[in-house]
Amino acid sequence: MNSPVILLLLGVLILALPVFLFHPKKGLIALLKRYNRDAEKEKIENALKHIYDCEYREHYCSLESIAGNLGVTSDKSSSIFDDLEKRNLALTGNEGIKLTAEGRDYALRLVRIHRLWERYLADETGVDPDQWHIDAEEKEHDLVDSANEIAEKIGNPVVDPHGDPIPDKDGQIFKLEGKSPLDLERGEIAKIVHIEDEPDSIYAQLMAQGLYKGMQIQIVEKNDGKIVFSADGKEVVLASSFANNLTVAPITAKEEIKESFQTLDLLEENQEAEVVGFSGRIRGQQKRRLMDLGIIPGTKIKALLKSPFNDPVAYLIRGTTIALRKDQSEGIFIKYA
């Protein structure tokens, strides 16, 4: 028993134990938590959200679409619906399945938490965009009580990072105006006002293309099956089914149209340029901090020195030397003076 070899193995086992227990996805605790979480309640909540979504988009909602959305059999989906009906949360009418007033309240609460949490992650933390939605899906079932606290902390936002309206405390919600990019004509300029975050696979693709809410696009080409547009000086090609997950609003003539600009990280030492704006990746706390430091459209900016590893780089900004990391300077658009 006291042989060091055995002890060593034992030690390795003990060391492996916390990993086994605490691994965020596959660990025992995570599994238990998932198992213990009220699976039924979650299904019901997800169904409610789906029905709400149908209403919001004016789609037809049926037992089949519920089954499809939740990934369950149609037997299961009808039993879920029975449950909803029994609790007076949803009902069937001539236009498919609808929510009752109570059901809508419930759904809006869920939606609120989900979108608030996404906004929190996007604005305040370094969590990756494709992680926002996934994380929020988990949180929405737990955070019922702390929704208002989160909202207050981040300034009661009215929009989530994808552009969806966030219902307020009393369940009031605004309606998003806009259309699919497929409805735009060639040459037309528009702004992305919403990026649908479901399903994950499509959303991840859109994020990988560098698309963000507020981005300006100009349609270059449109033919069956795909659409080509320019955005931030790059050309983006999307399959129609993907493009349909975007909502855009044509830009009114008054708003300034962004050309293709350079980004700040391209500035050479001692070169000077003028700031034109921020890419959508710079957001929330990060963006406010940069603006407070004096980086706003029109600011003259000069690269002064590179650090030994070329990152960060120090810039002269309104008389003060400020170092920015590359992932920040990549998100700042400039034009050469």
Binding site: G155, P157, Q285, R289, G294, I317, R318
Partner: protein
């Protein structure tokens, strides 16, 4: 709640006692309350030290004054209490420091807010200055680091600056205590109302935002009398600032009314 009874000052403004207590300010034994604001590394601590004679740690290091320091001084037979706010670039963001500074100026209603700026980098420092002037009328601009400005051939026209900002502007070199006397005099003048500030407000906002602010200001004025800075409140509402919403609800923004504010009003930093 301590009141102003110990004070020997007759025409001092009534402080919002409940608020100050919440903000951790001992109410007794002073006539005027002074707040010290400024960008990081502009010599705020040095100014604070030369005003109070205290020896707080100064350092050439942005963001060093994190906790709030306070001290006191006497000038011309009046007692002043001075609060050193955290050095910030702005008052509009959600960071903890800015919240502390912003709420102190708004709710603490100091008699004078001294804004310390770096004379060699005036433009960027005016950002904070103009924000402070949106919140409070009674302010003094301390144009610090004048020696450095001189050495570097930067000339600042203090008189024009004062005219444009509508508040006293005092050039100082806090390190050598130059100009501190003038600063004291200006503080006193503003505190007693000898000097009436007419602070400059920001005008060049995009029209649609300006309209939004105006609509809200109108509504605010209709519903509340006595609101000191409706414009600032409107702007904060457009940014969803919860402490403002709470303050409107419990009436603690409508000046003079000494209502006790609800316990859950969390604008004080709890360190």
């Amino acid at each position: 709640m301590t009141t102003q009874t110990e004070s020997n000052c007759v025409n001092c403004p009534v402080h919002n006692a409940a608020h100050l207590k919440k903000l951790g300010v001992n109410m007794s034994d002073y006539d005027y309350l002074v707040a010290l604001a400024g960008n990081p590394n502009t010599g705020k601590s040095t100014v604070f030290n030369s005003l109070t004679g205290l020896k707080q740690h100064t350092g050439n290091w942005p963001g060093k004054t994190v906790t709030r320091a306070e001290g006191g001084f006497e000038y011309d037979n009046s007692k002043f209490k001075i609060i050193d706010l955290p050095g910030t670039y702005s008052l509009l963001s959600t960071s903890k420091d800015e919240e502390v500074a912003r709420n102190f100026i708004l709710f603490g209603q100091p008699d004078v807010t001294v804004i310390v700026v770096d004379a060699t980098r005036l433009e960027r420092n005016l950002n904070l200055t103009l924000q402070v002037l949106e919140i409070t009328d009674n302010a003094v601009l301390c144009l610090n680091l004048m020696d450095e400005a001189e050495r570097n051939n930067v000339e600042v026209d203090a008189r024009t600056l004062s005219k444009m900002l509508g508040i006293p502007v005092v050039p100082t070199s806090a390190r050598t205590k130059e100009g501190i006397d003038n600063l004291l005099r200006s503080i006193k003048e503003v505190a007693t109302g000898e000097y009436v500030c007419k602070p400059r407000k920001v005008k060049k906002m995009n029209r649609k935002y300006q309209r939004a602010v105006d609509t809200l200001v109108e509504d605010l004025n209709k519903n509340f009398t006595n609101l000191k800075n409706p414009r600032w409140i409107a702007m904060r509402l457009l940014e969803g600032d919860q402490s403002i919403i709470n303050a409107l609800e419990d009436g603690s923004l409508t000046a003079e009314t000494e209502k006790t504010i609800s316990e859950n009003n969390k604008f004080v930093e709890n360190r």
